[in-house]
């Protein structure tokens, strides 16, 4: 299970932008773009998967435990079911649970986090303690316990459990952000002019928290997808619904490993990892949008190594001749000797070497 590689700590301190910012920059980030394209692909499969699946995922066939072929791109199960169809049909369940759970958790985290951060005092202490408790109690075992006591473990029930137990991380990050926003001038100004608290929260705070909320939402989707797949895999969730975890459950319980039927569990796992990567990439984009320091250097920047404490020297113009141009105008001491003479000549003789030192080390 991935731990949330979050924007949390990084964003806690740099300023969350005053609302208007170059939003297209977010979309121009190649990481974000890659993530969004992959995610769009999965969403498409989730919508049309059941229609384009070549076989009924539950239908048994004559070809038992066959490796991938043209008829069965991902091979077949022990009972001849088409694994490709199972993956296509299963995408919907995974995404529906992931996004529903994240929606529930997102709303909860905004309500708890922003309220705690904005109120301060006793209310904050109380709400923070509650979210810290939820944060410390191991989430997956708790979800397993609750789910196994429930009589109905359909997709929505699972989503609800994940959402109701998985909001604490987002709440924590939002609280920290709200705390730092609360004392900004424009919020204070709104307070001073007598705006109501809900109005300030909705119109002054939330717009500046959008990126953090989005990042928390995506993080929760990742968590929810993994939790959902895990619950199906260990047989807690309803195994009559197809999702990628169910595929893995059947593979595991039918000894796919021992039989060398790698095609039975590899596609589902790759899909989970790919979906998770796509979501994580989107989150990196958000992190870098919030905190530009995290951005990886672009292509042109790579030519020169940017290093803290050692500003690179890249002489753009051909070296000036010593003593001409700017120097004549400059010499602020007036009557002092021409300083350019000796040393400049030496440097002018080997243009470009100074760049080399920084870049080619």
């Amino acid at each position: 299970m991935a731990q949330p590689t979050d924007a949390a700590i990084a964003t806690a301190e740099p300023s969350p932008a005053p609302a208007r910012r170059d939003r297209t920059r977010f979309l121009r980030n190649p990481k974000t773009l890659t993530g969004l394209v992959i995610l769009a692909g999965f969403v498409l499969v989730a919508v049309i998967g059941p229609w384009i699946a070549p076989h009924d995922p539950s239908a048994r066939g004559p070809e038992l435990l066959q490796p991938p072929s043209w008829q069965h791109p991902f091979g077949t199960t022990q009972t001849g079911q088409d694994i490709f169809s199972q993956i296509l049909v299963g995408a919907r369940g995974v995404l529906v649970v992931g996004f529903t759970a994240a929606l529930i958790a997102g709303v909860l985290s905004v309500v708890v986090g922003v309220t705690a951060g904005y109120l301060g005092g006793l209310g904050d202490d109380l709400l923070s303690s509650v979210s810290n408790i939820f944060l410390v109690i191991p989430g997956l075992p708790l979800i397993i316990i609750i789910a196994s006591f429930l009589p109905d473990t359909g997709d929505l029930a699972i989503a609800a459990i994940i959402g109701l137990t998985g909001w604490a991380w987002g709440a924590r990050v939002l609280r920290a952000q709200t705390l730092s926003l609360r004392n900004r001038d424009y919020v204070q100004a709104a307070k001073a002019t007598g705006e109501s608290t809900p109005r300030i929260i909705v119109f002054e705070l939330l717009p500046n928290l959008t990126a953090v909320i989005a990042s928390g939402f995506i993080g929760t989707v990742i968590f929810a997808v993994l939790a959902n797949v895990t619950l199906a895999f260990i047989g807690v969730a309803d195994i009559s619904d197809w999702n990628w975890g169910t595929v893995l459950f059947w593979a595991q319980s039918n000894q796919a490993l021992a039989q060398g039927a790698w095609w039975w569990f590899v596609p589902a796992g790759l899909c989970i990892a790919l979906l998770g990567t796509a979501l994580a990439l989107i989150n990196f984009g958000i992190d870098e949008f919030i905190n530009p320091r995290l951005r990886s250097p672009g292509k042109e920047d790579r030519a020169v190594r940017m290093r803290i404490g050692f500003t690179p020297v890249v002489r753009r113009d051909p070296p000036r001749d010593a003593g001409t141009g700017s120097d004549t105008a400059g010499a602020p001491g007036g009557g002092t000797t021409d300083p350019g003479g000796t040393t400049d000549a030496g440097v002018a003789g080997n243009p470009g070497t100074d760049t080399g030192k920084e870049t080619h080390r």
Binding site: M1, A2, Q3, P4, T5, A8, I9, A10, S129, N132, I133, L135, V136, I137, P138, G139, L140, P141, L142, I144, I145, I146, S148, F149, P151, R172, F223, L226, T230, F233, I234, V236, L248, A251, Q252, L257, G260, W262, F265, A268, G269, I272, A273, L275, G276, T277, L279, A280, L281, F284, N291, R293, L294, S296, P297, D301, R302, R305, I308, G309
Partner: protein
């Protein structure tokens, strides 16, 4: 000191919350789950087990909810976690006591290794931002998105089924008797290697990413610039100034991520049929062995709280601002 007391109070409250959640969950379930269970076990349950089921679900009409809660606490304090259905009449406590050392060893060692390794690589990746190490980021992202258990399946299929270099399951060779003998210990280590590698590979990616980002953020702090201006050696600036500060939030993160890590580790145990409490939980889920599940949940939570406390102590040792009030 004040900081430590605050944390201890918080853990006490959290432990109370976890225990109470454990008490409440069965009582919130609709219908008559006991009858459903009795039907499911088709008369294999003894009357004693049925009695304990009624107690568990709070369907014991004679006692008030408050009385039940007190009983529950009384049992807990006596170390009585109830009786396992699946291994009737063995106590849940006994089974956990037998499984816990396996889990603690596996989880403790792998968590420590992945934290140290990931933090170390993260320090370099963050310090040398823009170098080839940045090329690792997409790879680590991908790896950290893979579910632990699936990586375990993959590892088994490659190293245990295809190449047969590692055992596919179990905690030790069936032929050796557990004990403080060289034969047993080497067998246990051999069996633990593949699950351990799986966990480390899955977990290390997250630490690399987290530490790298912290390093990047801290590197632009004024005091790092001052350190460079002072002409200190690169080692000193990187470790004593940048990494030394960047690791603080990473330790808080460590504490908060423990819950996630534990979840992943339990699943690896399930996949490898490793005789720890994760595998017990898996068995309990399959057999609807509620007392067992609850016992495992409680023990895991308490273990995570203890680990959190250790992380807090480490934090206090590393950050002078928590030690004394100015």
């Amino acid at each position: 000191m004040k900081y430590l007391l605050q944390r201890l109070a918080f853990y006490a409250v959290t432990a109370w919350a976890a225990i109470t959640i454990n008490f409440v969950i069965p009582r919130l379930m609709p219908g008559d789950p006991v009858q459903a269970l009795i039907n499911r076990f088709q008369g294999q349950l003894s009357t004693k087990a049925i009695d304990s089921l009624y107690t568990l679900f709070g369907l014991d009409e004679e006692r008030s909810l408050w009385q039940q809660y007190l009983d529950y606490w009384g049992n807990l304090l006596r170390g009585d976690l109830g009786t396992s259905f699946a291994f009737f009449p063995t106590g849940v406590g006994d089974i956990i006591a037998e499984s816990l050392p396996w889990t603690l060893a596996l989880m403790g060692v792998t968590t420590l290794i992945s934290f140290v390794l990931g933090t170390g690589i993260g320090i370099y990746a963050g310090w040398r931002r823009g170098s080839w190490l940045d090329g690792l980021l997409p790879v680590t992202t991908f790896i950290s998105s893979i579910p632990y258990f699936w990586l375990g399946l993959l590892a088994i299929s490659v190293f245990a089924v295809q190449w047969r270099v590692f055992p596919a399951s179990g905690g030790h060779d069936a032929s050796v008797v557990p004990g403080m003998t060289w034969g047993f210990i080497s067998s246990a280590l051999y069996h633990a290697l593949l699950p351990a590698i799986t966990i480390v590979v899955s977990a290390v990616a997250g630490w690399i990413l987290g530490m790298r980002n912290m390093m990047v953020s801290v590197s632009s702090e004024d005091y790092v610039l001052v350190a460079q201006a002072k002409g200190l050696s690169e080692r000193r600036v990187m470790f004593s100034y940048a990494a030394r500060n960047a690791i603080l939030p990473n330790i808080s993160n460590f504490a908060l991520s423990l819950g996630f890590i534990v979840g992943g580790t339990l699943l690896v145990e399930m996949v490898f049929s490793y005789p720890g409490i994760g595998y017990r939980l898996f068995q309990a889920v399959g057999a609807k062995d509620y007392p067992m599940m609850q016992g495992v949940f409680l023990i895991i939570t308490l273990a995570v709280l203890a680990a959190n406390l250790l992380a807090d102590l480490a934090y206090m040792a590393l950050d002078p601002r928590t030690r004394r009030e100015s």
